[in-house]
Symmetry: C2
Subunit: 166 residues, 2 copies
């Protein structure tokens, strides 16, 4: 085996170990997200008889006192408009949100939180924060800050690379 | 306001900022996972006409030359047995896996990769590694190592805390 072959093989090992690291990181990212999601789903169901997609929709609307256009709501939830409709319909039935046609453009629908929806959401959100804190709390504060910073970097890179869900 | 009230308020601010940090970290974790998953789904569909759940099932089976018992496969995929069945049936139809009844216990089903399934998986896995690498590659190697280590810590804590999907 001559030096050139050695060099090429070293380079291949390097590339390969680089990909291995990223694959392992991705699988851990996926596992953590799956475990945390599952626990939040379980708690929401048991304590509030609520689903995570319905909770997420109320969370988006809670930030927008003037309501959100349906297409924007769908975009922020990273869910297709078709999948947003059944979640929205259920929340309408329960009286937690209202839907109105825009006075400027009749094709545009605006979704708003009702007072009851806001009350329900705030009660669940408080508990939700405690559940997340209980799951992350095993890490030192410094570690959680470092993790937060690294995920910021990753998220920024994903957005910049055009890897957007829309 | 006396000193005692000050102390209580400081403590509340501390608890609250702690929860805020964890909530922001959790939302970033979820966003990164959603963006990476969506890109992998898109690439698998466009380049191989394949779905991510089918790819994940082949990935689990590729690691086990002797095959996997159906319940164990379901557990490793963190998907309920009911949701595993349609994915498995599709792969059976395509000839990428086989299913056999255990000779020791007729209630136990063992799923195996076929030679064709292994070939198909390896071809997709190579590309899959490159896609993940392309999405993570914007971070420095040191950052990716740190992220991997922190996710190990989080995953270990979640498992230890009994926050398991099963």
């Amino acid at each position: 085996m001559d030096d050139r072959t050695d060099l090429i093989e070293d380079r291949q090992d390097e590339v390969s170990s680089d990909i291995q690291l990223d694959l392992r990181t991705w699988l851990k990212l996926l596992t953590c997200t799956t475990l945390i999601s599952a626990e939040l789903r379980r708690q929401l169901r048991e304590q509030f008889d609520f689903t995570l997609p319905r909770f997420d929709m109320l969370a988006q609307l809670d930030r927008e006192p003037g309501g959100l256009v349906l297409t924007e709501l769908s975009k922020r939830l990273m869910v297709s408009p078709g999948n947003v409709t059944p979640i929205m319909n259920r929340l309408l039935e329960e009286g937690y949100i209202t839907r109105a046609t825009s006075s400027l453009d009749r094709r545009v629908q605006i979704v708003c939180l009702t007072a009851e929806g806001r009350k329900k959401f705030r009660r669940m959100a408080k508990k939700h924060g405690q559940w997340v804190n209980a799951m992350m709390g095993g890490l030192e504060l410094e570690e959680r800050r470092a993790l937060s910073g690294l995920l910021d970097r990753l998220k920024g890179n994903l957005r910049a690379g055009g890897f957007s869900d829309q």
